[in-house]
């Protein structure tokens, strides 16, 4: 293995160790237990389709919780590296800034994939539920996109609150952006003069800049709906490459 690759892999391993020490796994486990408890409560109060309602409730809550845990952990960790000049120690190694980011990304992506797949484990208890494997894989892909976004925002913005706010705003818009675009089309907001169409256009423009997060880990797959898994992977690849390109520009511009 080349010294450079070894350094990148070493950094990835260090990131995994960091995730373990900052109890990301324990937080994810707590989120899963809370989501499962709420889902089992729903099981007690619905009148019919108990398993379906339980699975759907668990999936919705655990998905959002894991995404927020990953975002928070990555942003806090990366900003601390920047503020405490820990990054200087890494850059003293034969590493470029991009390779530093790559090492961190590999480590956090592994954490994201483990969290995503672990979150699907309780679904094994619901044997009649369709689409569990597709949901788990799709959620793991979503976790990698989320990791990439959080890492880029932390490196670019350098402040926990600002980066976390940007992360939440972008993630929420990525989840509901398609609805806003549909709404603007259905309600005639895209008609009229260029000035009148301005607000509909910037919603559309914003949707072009963000991934279609609503396509990932679709809860309707667990409720018997048709499964479209392929486009998820394509969307994840496209958007991770896009974030990588942005990181390339940002890290060249940045003075750590």
């Amino acid at each position: 293995m080349q010294p450079m690759s070894r350094a990148v892999m070493g950094l990835a391993r260090l990131t995994l160790l960091e995730a373990r020490r900052t109890a990301v796994g324990k937080a994810a486990l707590a989120a899963m237990i809370i989501a499962l408890s709420l889902a089992l409560f729903v099981d007690r109060i619905v009148l019919t389709e108990q398993d379906r309602a339980t699975v759907v409730t668990y999936a919705v809550i655990v998905r959002l919780a894991i995404v927020l845990i990953l975002g928070q952990a990555i942003i806090a960790n990366t900003v601390r590296d920047l503020n405490e000049r820990i990054i200087d120690n890494f850059l003293a190694l034969p590493l470029t800034r991009m390779q530093y980011a790559l090492g961190k990304w590999l480590g956090w992506s592994a954490v994201g994939i483990v969290c995503g797949l672990s979150a699907a484990l309780p679904l094994l208890a619901f044997s009649g539920t369709p689409g569990r494997l597709a949901w788990a894989l799709s959620f793991a892909a979503e976790a990698v996109v989320v990791v990439s976004l959080a890492l880029l925002l932390a490196l670019a913005l350098g402040r926990v609150i600002t980066a976390m706010l940007a992360f939440c705003a972008m993630y929420l818009f990525a989840r509901v952006g398609f609805l806003l675009v549909l709404l603007s089309a259905n309600t005639g907001a895209v008609d009229g003069t260029a000035f009148e169409r301005f607000d509909a256009r910037y919603v559309q423009l914003a949707s072009y800049l963000l991934p279609r997060m609503d396509r990932f880990a679709d809860t309707s797959w667990l409720a018997g709906g048709p499964i479209h898994f392929g486009p998820d992977i394509l969307q994840a690849l496209i958007y991770i490459a896009l974030l990588g390109a942005v990181a390339g520009i940002e890290l060249r511009r940045k003075q750590f």
Binding site: R175, V176, L179, D214
Partner: protein, 229 residues
């Protein structure tokens, strides 16, 4: 000294916790005007509010509609709730999650079994309309509607109409054979021998009764034709 300080801190925490528990006990959550059910929000707004999770949104709305008449154990009569508004809420859930039978269950098993006959008919009509969209998925709710029409409303014509729809519209081979035979059994139960025999003939001709034992059973349920011993 340090132990005393620690004890004081724990005592303070305990006192604050007890105060909070007391406050919650003295101020239980209350629902005001829970039975005044307004129009539902637009489907797109509900989807957006739940981050594009229509199935989950459907269950949340159903839990709201299911419990809207219960005010801390004091139940508001379901008959007092405006049926057309309820139907709009049930439409919202069916549009959000077409694969769910929950709104159909509430319509047949909850709202159609209470209220005036007009209110009940309104709910059954809604179930029938929604059944027509997906007969192979929603037949079980129309089966319940047949029961409500026959035994709760005592409207045999309506029950026969729904049973005929079950016989002609349900084509899924996985649906139990009695679903399509319900029309026959209903006519037999009502003593309409000629109609029942005609339906049985139709079922046999369509190849929907393959087992001789099943045919024998159905024939045993037929009333004798008038004029025959």
């Amino acid at each position: 000294m340090r132990i005393a300080a620690q004890l004081r801190a724990w005592l303070l925490l305990g006192a604050c916790l007890a105060a909070n528990v007391l406050f919650q006990r003295l101020n239980p959550p209350t629902w005001s005007d829970a039975y005044v059910l307004g129009n539902p929000p637009p489907t797109a707004a509900v989807r957006a509010a739940t981050l594009g999770e229509p199935v989950f949104a459907g269950y949340l709305v159903m839990l709201y509609v299911q419990n809207l008449n219960v005010h801390l154990g004091l139940a508001t009569p379901l008959a007092a709730i405006d049926r057309p508004v309820i139907l709009r809420w049930l439409d919202l859930v069916t549009d959000l999650d077409p694969g769910s039978g929950y709104p159909l269950l509430l319509a047949t098993g909850h709202f159609a079994e209470t209220g005036s006959p007009e209110q009940r008919r309104l709910m059954l009509d809604w179930v029938y309309r929604r059944f027509e969209e997906r007969p192979n998925q929603r037949w079980e709710w129309l089966v319940h509607a047949v029961y409500v029409a026959r035994h709760v409303l005592n409207d045999n014509a309506l029950a026969e109409y729904y049973a005929a729809a079950l016989r002609t519209r349900v084509t899924d081979p996985k649906a139990p054979s009695w679903v399509r035979q319900m029309d026959l059994l209903l006519h037999a139960d009502l003593g309409e021998a000629a109609d029942a025999r005609a339906i049985l003939g139709g079922l046999v001709a369509a190849g929907q009764i393959r087992s001789p034992a099943e045919l024998k059973f159905l024939e045993s349920r037929l009333p004798p034709l008038k004029g025959n011993p």
